[in-house]
Amino acid sequence: MPKVSPRNPATLADVQRLMAEAVMRPLRSDEGMQTAWKDGSPAADVAARIIKPNDRLSSFERLQIYNQQYWWRLLGSFAEDFRALRAVVGNRKFDKLAVAYLENCGSTTWTMRDLGRQLESFLRAHPELTTPHGPLALDVVRVEWARVIAFDEPGKSVLQPEKIAAVSPDRLRIGLQPYLTLLELAHPVDELLRKFKESQIETGAFSNAVSATVTRRRSRIAARPARRPVHLAVHRHELAVYYKRLEPEAYRLLCALRDGATLADACERAFAGSQDLPAASAGKIQQWFANWMHLGWLCSIR
């Protein structure tokens, strides 16, 4: 965002840049607006240059209303999408990481649905924000973001069985539905989330009302690492979001297809190093494809 002199916001763009900058600055720990501007000067002076006081509120206090609304609105939406992450790291740590994340990765689209798009990479770059729950927190974030994707990401036309039969496996490439996410996890997050009962109603909707305060949640959850990696598909079926455990070979096969491998190459990669006899592998593949076709996971590349 280009910097605007707080002294003379002359144009509409200047006023909007300056106000947006003020509105998006993190709140103090007592949820008031920061008293110092970024250059150390009093924020009250900056507010007074663009905003009129009235007989009840100073310019600073009037601007603070929007500063608070911005953070309460974004934090509320973010907390809705990452309820389990909050339960893993605890309220205080969650609030801190949420502010740090949203300050660095604020919204760049008209929908708050995308707020969490960069959260996994941000937390990987800032492990101190989730310590000592880092590995579990990362697994949970990946699953919760996959839920967002599964909820309303567009679907493509389902691949018909005759199209698979019509092309040789060494030339056939198959796509996966955009709402399907494949995850390899260190923790049994699917089981954890099934146990995690959220008492409050999820709204997940836009409105043009303002918030009087931000919602806080108290429940905590934890899980030990699984003995072996957990392979999970997060997907949508008949408008509901589901988790489906995958065998390691099935996971590798789907990942290979997703990455553009031919069917033949994908099968080879899936069973590389496997002790299974070819006949057993073929049986498994046949069974998996029948199931994936039933779930509508497979689609054309184009």
């Binding site: 965002m1 009235n54 009037r62 309303d152 997940g204 408008l239």
Partner: protein
Amino acid sequence: MPANRFNAHTAYGIGLGLRIPHYAHILEKKPLVDWFEIISENYMTDAGRPLHILDQILEQYRVVQHGVSMYFGNAARPNRDHLRKLKRLTKRTQTPWISDHLCWGSVDGRYTHDLLPMPYTWEAVETTARNIREVQDFLEIPVAVENVSSYVEFHVSEMTEWEFLSEVVERADCGILLDVNNIYVSSKNHGFDPYEYLDAVPHDRVAQMHIAGHTKFERYILDTHDHPVLDPVWKMYAHATKLAGRTATLLEWDDRIPSFDEVHREALKANTFLPDAKSLAA
């Protein structure tokens, strides 16, 4: 007057905001409601449950789209990707008109997701009118702009809010979604006479009205949409309908949402404030 070119010559009555907690009740009980207003952004997806629900609602009810993130008052031009998605939704809903707010909300690609108030300058009049015209031309349906509640006033303002609204809608040649509660809230926060506002706006451009509840704090009022409509707002609504005629009216209730029946009852109170309410009752 109420059926005018800004609401596609429709004569809708009292509507309700379509909200998630009421989905099951509406789909199961099929209550008699004149129309529903949807928040466009909740359905600007290409798949998933929200669209599925909307399609079921559309089979039985008239729907009007109301947006919260077009930001007509942004210094920048409207987002084309947003417009394309919005237009796709208008084809689906067949909304006779579409509304959004007279505000700004994003700068240089960063979104505040708030309805930020305009500085009432001539430059802002020109910019906002240009953006509304662009949206209206793209969508090819009438656009109505809604006055917002505000908590700040800018030193650079060169006119009153109602002068600004009037100038913008005349230059954009668009309709007004007159939010009576927002006028009341802003009048208390800024110390102006809300009836002067109501009297001054071009009544022949009013396509729709909003009513809602608000929350009073010690030193200001917040537009929270979490209460029944307060008496002063009902009185203003009665005055507004005298000036603009019977107009499609929508009750907004977005937080601490009570049962569908309670919201519906509150909305239908609007009928008792219409200019010809006594003759209707008789």
